[in-house]
């Protein structure tokens, strides 16, 4: 944070040590490291679903409906995690579901973060009247419970995974605006910003090169949070029938399809839920670790 002249050599020298420092603080939190490994496994599952999955997620084995997992009586190693009411392999569907959840998390978190940070930066640098208008608009969005607003948006736009992601990105975005604006306002009064202005740095340079890098820490933590929120919300929308549509192997949609079988076949309900819980938990653990490692104010608390 001290180097005001970002020369290439200085940056290269600074980078590995900063990464090492980050890993030092991050790895102090054992839960965070565990979360990180689970997340890596999740990414591998998402990326390699086509290779790892024994069957196609939509292939129906009509002679093998509701086969229990292999360790239970009646199960076979042909279908490790059993099959669903239509005879589709649960393991293959879960693996492909990881792909959807990962995709949803990445897209929603980056769209919300990109839009929110940009608006927050503008709001922080803008004259008071524009700042007030932007913040009031964010207040308005925040007045609606997120899931409800997403539900209504999807109802109007039509139920699909894309619309669900769009709706959730809109709903998550005000948090970034508030966060970015608050840290920008905190930085603006500091001397290094004043000196950059005196040195003749233009508005855009001050916004994106002088101030923004110093506001990134809380934003990165927020990205982790909205990644897991997005997975939860899209699964909830899928569960309500307003997200991904069957036969898409999205975890929430799978749960909705399995609802009527809850008392007969525990695995069709339990497994997609565990998948959601473990993924979200891993990302939240990482988020806690990121906060400890990146946010100097909260360090060692």
């Amino acid at each position: 944070m001290t180097d005001l002249t970002p020369e290439a050599t200085a940056a290269e020298q600074a980078r590995p040590s900063r990464l090492r420092e980050f890993w030092f603080y991050f790895s102090e939190n054992r839960g965070a490291v565990m979360g990180f490994y689970v997340f890596v496994a999740f990414v591998i599952m998402a990326a390699g679903a086509d290779i790892l999955a024994p069957y196609s997620p939509t292939e129906q084995f009509r002679d093998h409906t509701l086969v229990p997992p292999f360790w239970q009586e009646g199960g076979s190693t042909q279908f490790l995690f059993g099959t669903d009411p239509l005879g589709r392999d649960m393991l293959s569907r879960l693996l492909h579901g990881a792909r959807f959840s990962f995709f949803v998390g990445i897209v929603v978190a980056s769209v919300a973060a990109f839009g929110g940070v940009l608006i927050g930066l503008i709001s922080g640098f803008a004259p008071k009247w524009l700042d007030t208008i932007i913040m009031r608009i964010m207040d308005i969005i925040l007045a609606f419970p997120s899931l409800l607003l997403a539900l209504v948006l999807v109802a109007i736009l039509g139920p699909s995974l894309f619309n669900a992601m769009l709706a959730i990105a809109i709903v998550l975005q005000p948090h970034y605006v508030r966060l970015t604006r608050a840290s920008v306002l905190g930085e603006l009064s500091k001397d290094y910003v004043t000196s950059a202005r005196v040195a003749g740095a233009g508005l855009f340079r001050r916004m994106f090169i002088t101030v923004l890098p110093n506001c990134l820490a809380p934003i990165i933590v927020q990205v982790a949070l909205s990644f897991s929120n997005a997975i939860l919300d899209v699964a909830a929308l899928g569960f309500l029938g307003m997200g991904a549509q069957p036969p898409t192997p999205e975890w929430g949609t799978m749960l909705a399809e399995a609802r009527e079988f809850i008392l007969r076949a525990w695995w069709v309900v339990t497994l997609p839920g565990i998948a959601i819980l473990v993924t979200v938990l891993a990302i939240n653990l990482m988020g806690d670790g990121l906060r400890d490692a990146l946010d100097p104010k909260l360090k060692r608390s």
Partner: protein, 335 residues
């Protein structure tokens, strides 16, 4: 103080207008003709269509329509449901007690468990108890509550047969609404077993709805307590020879409560969002289920009115929390 109150009210007004604009825009500006939706699959004649357009005022300029909508909102007129033909306002307040009862029970549970858990975790920081509590809290915070509800149904309603699967009370009992709160009405009815039945119906939905707020409150209480415990005045209290119960209970907790109260107030929105899922799963006849059903039935006036009323409720609670916060903490007022 009056200046502070006025400034808060002044920010309330534009947000209120914005919220009405959004709920207005949902029907009039976005695609999909509500009249055709209202006609359903049977369709309607061209004359009847024109008649309805005139009746609902869709032939007038959008600004005029919005002005009349706003006037209606202020007088409590949110239009009639397409499906039941009853005023949206009446429907909302007929169902609201059910949601309020569930939310109040959930919030009480969350505070009763979350607050002490957070305090204990902070006092025993780093010990086994702290780790166990905080791991549980993180799991609760990450929980997809719709799945959690299904799990509880499998175990407690399916395998153990302890609790009913849905509704607010057994069909055996019938009595008129007095307050709209089943717990109170069942006692007032004087029917044997009615109260027990109402409680049994409340248990699972309350646990499900309380899960996320409980985790949030426990985590927030812990970090607020930790911050306060490192303050100088706590050391002074220790040096004076006060016992741990008095230090933690009287000195630390009272100050730690300030941010926690804010979190509790702000989780009203979360609670309402959670109520959508919880009520749908347990067929709880409240606002959340009503909204979801209306969305599926394309009952636009209900969606519009419900959205507005829920947003208003969140805004009012936030305003109250804001004002209370300024009342408790003079530093905020002076800003």
């Amino acid at each position: 103080m009056i200046k502070f109150l006025l400034s808060r009210l002044l920010t309330f007004l534009p947000t209120f207008i914005g919220v009405t604009l959004i709920s207005f825009a949902f029907i009039r500006v976005l695609p999909g003709d509500p009249i055709i939706v209202m006609a359903g699959e049977r369709g309607m004649s061209e004359e009847r269509y024109q008649e309805l357009v005139a009746e609902l005022g869709y032939d007038r300029p959008v600004l005029v329509q919005y002005w009349e909508y706003l006037g209606g909102v202020i007088q409590g007129d949110l239009g009639d449901s397409f499906v039941t033909k009853r005023p949206v306002w009446d429907e909302f307040f007929a169902l609201f007690p059910a949601t309020l009862e569930l939310s109040a029970c959930a919030m009480t549970l969350a505070i009763l468990i979350g607050l002490p858990a957070g305090v204990i975790a902070a006092v025993y920081r780093g010990k086994f108890f702290d780790r166990a509590l905080m791991s549980t809290a993180l799991i609760g915070y990450s929980m997809p509550i719709f799945w959690w509800a299904l799990l509880l149904i499998i175990v407690f309603s399916g395998n153990l047969q302890w609790t009913p699967v849905s509704g607010r009370i057994d069909l055996l009992y019938y009595f008129d609404d007095v307050t709209g709160f089943m717990l109170i009405d069942s006692i007032l009815s004087g029917q044997k077993g009615a109260f027990i039945s109402a409680v049994r119906h409340l248990i699972l939905p309350t646990i499900v709805l309380a899960t996320v707020p409980l985790a949030v409150i426990a985590r927030q209480t812990r970090s607020a307590m930790l911050e306060v415990l490192s303050e100088d005045y706590i050391r002074t209290a220790k040096a004076k020879g006060l016992g741990p119960a008095r230090i933690n209970g009287m000195h630390a907790m009272r100050n730690a409560l300030i941010p926690v109260i804010t979190v509790i107030g702000l989780s009203v929105g979360t609670l309402l969002a959670g109520a959508i899922l919880t009520e749908t799963i347990f067929s709880w006849p409240g606002i959340g289920k009503w909204m979801v059903d209306s969305i599926f039935r394309r009952d636009y006036p209900v969606v519009q009115g419900g959205l507005l009323l829920i947003a208003l409720m969140v805004m009012i609670v936030n305003l109250i929390v804001d004002v209370l916060y300024g009342f408790i903490n003079p530093k905020i007022r002076k800003q």
